[in-house]
């Protein structure tokens, strides 16, 4: 992760606090604030299609952020993240449907309940490492999915469950244009929370475990506590994201959240950059936009000369899946440090432009 420093010469740090600010310079802080303000106007400027993509990026980025705490900051692994996502979705739908709790409160509550479930499934993590942990989290994936397909009272069983639209004090958010702001708020708050978490004692403990668990233990870090906590945190953000997804779709189905979705969450973290908070957002955007762009290309190819020459017809759909796989492999080969690393290089390039080297 060692990249060229972006701190201008003459900018000295005299306290530890100054060394751990969220934004290294005033300009970067202002740029981030301006960016958020600018994206607030997205519902006015973008078509519904693009808005739905932005909302998807927002929701999945929160879930991927949770996974990055686990994978990127604590050095654990989970291939059951999608099950926690779905658990949050069903929980929020269930709470807001059956109890007199408005959706506004159901979402954070679903996050908390999912975190508790995550803590339970995190217990083996305290003892297991590497491949063994992978299999343990795989079990979580299957146990939860099986639970959803059987627990009629909770998830509606095999049939999709319905979720209420997002409402606050009687005001109901209808349509993507309004829901966009709900997701944006959660996204900004989540990213700020995690950025701050990593500046605290607990956050540094997680990183210490990742870098060398034995040294961390010798220094007095309680491995069991922090490893389990990390699972809880990951599940918390997965639950929040799932709840947001439930009230966005208004329907929760246990389809499409199997192991392949868990792997996609991992892909988001890896492509974005493990251990990079902004990288998570970039990785999510990349992974969400990839199938969409493939869709555009396959739509463009349909009926064209290439299509006819190779008689692709309906196989274009499968070609899309293959292309996604290929691009992810290429990414791992040529950009192993993720998009965050590439972004830093681009910034450095322009910082020194035209006098680099």
């Amino acid at each position: 992760m060692a990249g060229p420093s972006l701190i201008p010469s003459g900018d000295y740090r005299t306290t530890y606090a100054a060394d751990t600010t969220i934004f290294p310079t005033k300009a970067s802080r202002n740029a981030a604030i301006a960016g958020i303000v600018l994206i607030c106007f997205a519902p006015l400027a973008f078509s519904e299609y693009w808005l739905s993509i932005l909302i998807q990026i927002g929701i999945f980025a929160i879930a991927a952020l949770g996974l990055n705490i686990l994978v990127g900051f604590t050095g654990q692994i989970s291939i059951g993240h999608a099950a926690f996502f779905l658990f949050g979705a069903f929980t929020s739908a269930y709470i807001s449907n059956t109890l007199p709790i408005p959706v506004f409160f159901a979402i954070p509550l679903a996050g908390v309940i999912t975190a508790l479930v995550g803590l339970i499934f995190g217990i083996p993590a305290a003892r297991l490492k590497g491949l063994y942990l992978v299999i343990a989290t795989l079990a979580a994936q299957y146990i939860l999915l099986d639970f959803f397909s059987r627990a009629d009272w909770f998830s509606g069983g095999a049939a999709p469950a319905s979720a209420n639209p997002f409402s606050i004090f009687g005001y109901v958010f209808r349509g993507d244009r309004q829901y966009f702001y709900v997701v944006l708020t959660y996204l900004v708050v989540s990213y700020l929370l995690v950025t701050n978490l990593m500046r605290t004692r607990d956050g540094r403990a997680l990183v210490a475990i990742r870098d060398h668990y034995l040294s961390a233990e010798i220094m007095g870090i309680n491995l069991t506590k922090y490893r389990t906590l990390s699972f809880g945190l990951a599940a918390f953000f997965a639950g929040i994201a799932g709840a947001l997804y439930a009230h966005y779709q208004l329907v929760v189905s246990n389809e499409g959240f199997g192991i392949e979705r868990s792997i996609i969450f991992l892909a988001m973290v890896i492509i974005g950059g493990t251990g990079s908070i902004m990288g998570t957002l970039m990785g999510t955007a990349f992974v969400v936009l990839l199938p969409e762009s493939m869709e555009w290309i396959s739509a463009g190819l349909k009926g064209s000369a290439i299509d006819k020459a190779l008689s692709l017809n309906n196989n274009i759909t499968f070609l899309r899946e293959i292309a996604i796989g290929l691009i992810i492999i290429a990414f791992l080969m040529f950009e192993p440090d993720g998009l965050a690393h590439r972004w830093r290089q681009i910034k450095t390039y322009w910082k020194l432009y035209p006098f680099s080297h």
Partner: protein, 426 residues
């Protein structure tokens, strides 16, 4: 970066291109198809049938001089992807109707369809979609859901009625045993309660259901339980590809049971793949004839088929013809809407109510006469039961196999169910 900017340019060009075509077309239709998911075996011919039919309508001048702009999308049988597409179709450029597909996604959309007033002609025939006002008390109101053919539950009732007679005719002693088989998924589950209820009424012993997945796999274990349970009649609730796995495994295990397939559970392709394992399976046929059958409307179906197969040599399975019927019913409903205030979803739904016992023009003798009313969306109560007959090795071209009679769909019985109020909505 260059890759990204390239993608950006391509996508922008496509978006602009898409916008240009949308401006010319006048009646938008959303089309959900499953070409890659759990039901793609039957979803592919059905999707092709829908696409061909609308292409054929457009070639012949569209509807009321307006071309149809059909947005076909493979959603891989996944509810979230169907919802995402629905959002697109119910947004700014609202579609006049949707040609839908699966039970899970159609039932998930039912409430939205009613709210946005968009009719959905689904490939799901779940009985829960037949109650437009929710008066049955067994299903939520589904005022904008339509489908062509007998509901899954009614098809099941008809098959069990036949099975009870068959048991008597064979003069076997004791109570026949019935078992429901299928994935734990809304589609195979849809007629489960109705089937088990009527089975009990008809004097069957109802065995605990057996579960097997929607995708093909090794179902030897299910066949062994089937054998040890001593079942006489088994309902196969999944689609053809997955049912074939069961048929083959049960053939190997030497299970002596009469299989009864769902409308999507058997077709000529499946019979060819399963070979002699598919011999004797009973299933309902939604159209009066199969491909190449002797009916005036078959000429139209052949014309439509040429839209994607100019040679005219491709054999179209039963699902293709059912798709043509479904799409043409919608076409006539839109036709009525265009003449009576414009092709809005609300008018298109009304278009379905204008005639009773009707067949789309040009489809005489192919589509079975259907009726939809404001109070009852069960299009038909008549169920034609067929048996697949396999009389030899099924290698080679499907066209030849059917011509030679190696694969034959043999009519068994037509069951006319009463339109009982207690059978409504489930």
């Amino acid at each position: 970066m260059t890759m990204k900017s390239l993608l950006g340019t391509v996508s922008l060009a496509l978006l602009l291109g898409g916008a240009a075509t949308a401006a010319q077309a006048q009646i938008a239709i959303g089309h959900l198809e499953d070409l890659s998911g759990g039901t793609s075996d039957v979803g592919t011919p059905y999707g092709q049938g829908v696409a061909d039919t609308f292409a054929w309508v457009n070639k012949n001048g569209g509807i009321g001089g307006k071309q149809l702009n059909v947005d076909s999308n493979d959603y891989g049988y996944q509810v979230p992807r169907a919802i995402a597409l629905y959002k697109k179709w119910s947004g700014a450029d609202k579609v006049a109707a949707i040609m839908g597909w699966g039970t899970a996604d159609t039932e998930a959309l039912t409430g939205f369809l009613a709210q946005d007033k968009i009719p959905d002609i689904s490939g799901s025939y779940a009985a829960a979609l037949t109650d437009p006002e929710g008066t049955s008390g067994k299903a939520k109101p589904a005022p904008y859901n339509f489908f062509y053919g007998p509901s899954y539950s009614d098809a099941m009732r008809a098959m069990l009625t036949w099975a009870a007679e068959d048991w008597k005719a064979k003069g076997k002693p004791g109570k026949p045993k019935f078992v429901h088989m299928g994935a734990n998924h809304p589609y195979p589950n849809a007629p489960k309660a109705a089937g088990e209820a009527i089975a009990a009424d008809l004097g069957f012993e109802v065995l605990p259901p057996l579960v097997f997945a929607l995708t093909p796999g090794d179902y030897s274990a299910q066949c062994l339980s089937l054998k040890s349970s001593g079942a006489n009649y088994a309902y196969l609730g999944n689609t053809a590809a997955s049912n074939i796995s069961v048929l083959k495994a049960c053939k190997t295990a030497g299970v002596d049971v009469q299989f009864m397939g769902n409308v999507w559970g058997m077709d000529e392709n499946a019979a060819k793949t399963a070979g002699d394992a598919a011999d004797g399976v009973i299933f309902p046929l939604r159209t009066a004839v199969a491909w190449g059958g002797d009916a005036p409307g078959m000429k139209t179906v052949m014309e439509i088929s040429k839209m994607s197969d100019p040679t005219g040599n491709v054999y179209r399975p039963v699902h293709y013809i059912a798709a043509v019927c479904s799409a043409l019913y919608l076409k006539e409903a839109i036709d009525w809407a265009v003449k009576n205030g414009g092709a809005t979803g609300e008018n298109v739904a009304k278009g379905f109510y204008q005639k009773a016992n009707w067949v789309p023009a040009g489809m005489e003798g192919v589509c079975n006469p259907s009726t939809w009313t404001e109070k009852d969306h069960r299009p038909t109560m008549k169920v034609d039961l067929y048996r697949s007959k396999i009389s030899g090795p099924t290698d080679g071209d499907l066209n030849d196999l059917v011509k030679k009679g190696t694969i034959k769909l043999e009519k068994v019985k037509t069951i006319e169910l009463p339109r009982k109020p207690e059978w409504f909505g489930w």
